[in-house]
Amino acid sequence: MKEKVRSILQEILPDVDFDAETALFDDGIIESFDVIQIMSELMDSFSIDLNAEDIEPENLNSLDAIVALVESRLP
């Protein structure tokens, strides 16, 4: 799961070290256009539903937070 999420993020933002960053959203490392690409890819790859209300720093600030968001939506 974590590897799959990491590869999705890496494809969208190849220059970001997702293991080191813990404030991806707060520090503006992922911008609004990146956010929607990430959300769309996660929805398609894991067949889950995400919506605009999920776009919060606590869900997007780190790789682990994004993994937790995906896990919380898996059936």
Partner: protein, 463 residues
Amino acid sequence: MLYPILLCSLLYLFAKAGLRGLLTGLLLSAVAFVCGKEISRSTETEGARAKRALRAGLIIILGTLLFFKYGLRLTSLSTTIPMGLSYYALSLCAYLLDVSHKKCEAVSRFPDMAGFSLYAFSLRQGPINLCQELLPQLRAKFSFDGTRVIRGLQRSLFGLMKKLVIADRIGLHVTAILGDENAAGSLILYAMLLYSFQIYADFSGGIDVIMGLSEALGITLPENFNAPLVAKSVTEYWQRWHMTLGRIMEKYLYYPLVLSKQMRTFSKRISSKFLRRVAAAAIANFLVFILVGAWHGTGWNYIVYGLYQAVLTTQAILLAPTYKKWQQALSIRTESLPYRVFQVVRTFVILTFGRYFIRMGTLPDAFALFGRTFRSFRPGALWDGSLLTYEATMPNLIIIFIGLVLLVFIDVKHAGGFCFRDAIAKQPAVLRYAICYLAIFVVLILGIYGPGYDAANYIYGGF
């Protein structure tokens, strides 16, 4: 300190906007209060009822905004919008959506709701507050902190400098040039470039005054600017300019639009992989900027202004791969200082052309100004002494020039993470006081005052 602030807010609103402005504010706050409670009560038991309350609240609030912005204008009954409506209407809509999404608790007392939505300092030109950020601070007990008060007043003082010394001085000069039908095109372009600085000094100066006074009271408002003069693209500019409007548009309109089922279904039908990825973002971005334009005013010129921003930001999304290929083909070092300076200047000029639509009252006037700019450019008018005939003596031009250099310098340092107020706070007391007294004298001596002149008249106050 909620009640004293609420009382001041209501008195201020009544004094500035009359009974109509006061009643509009109180009625819309009451609508949000009732709908918020209904949404909060209903979500646990029946979703449909909550949705109905949410829709009703949004329709009434946005309907009122539209009525005053467009309805009355069309019927020629009135041309003024109740003060603060453009700002608190968005705050109230955000509140209802946040309650609906359980991001914020419904307010249980009406004074809380009115205190947050009609917060006096934000009525004139924002920033656009969120309930969950502002209300807890309003409810908190006031405690005096001398350092905080001084820092707050310091920010207000610097804001006044921007407004009274730079923006208003530029304003007189720009108005005189644009008012001359025979002015050379080069002078009009020069005036419009200055206008870009004026609108920034005016808007951010006003916001600094508001933020500083609020800080003195112990209230931290959301920042509205993050060094927009160093923006390297129009997209980046909108991330640095009027950030509280951007936040509202992004969070409550752009993201929901892009991630909506309809948009995703539409995107999936597109065969090109790249377009499939960006189509939804491009469409939503386009719509959002049209609305940003419409929010600013009521004429077609504001719609075209939004359209202009929409085209610029949307093409940046769609053509990003092409631009990257060009940069690689031309071996452009995108991180080099000369290229970044080029990007910043290019962005500033592009944005200035967009401001033709804002500065002029109507669309025909804006196009006429474009025509006047390029019909008879005559660059020599910039240095043949003509400038001095437009409400500007040489000392005035020097003050404007120093002001612009300072604005750019402060933004460059700010973008690099440098905080001037922190730096001043670390200086010896003598130097700190000297800086403050200097700022006071600069405002008193170099500020623009006089009969018929309203120092509290802000460009963004008209939106």
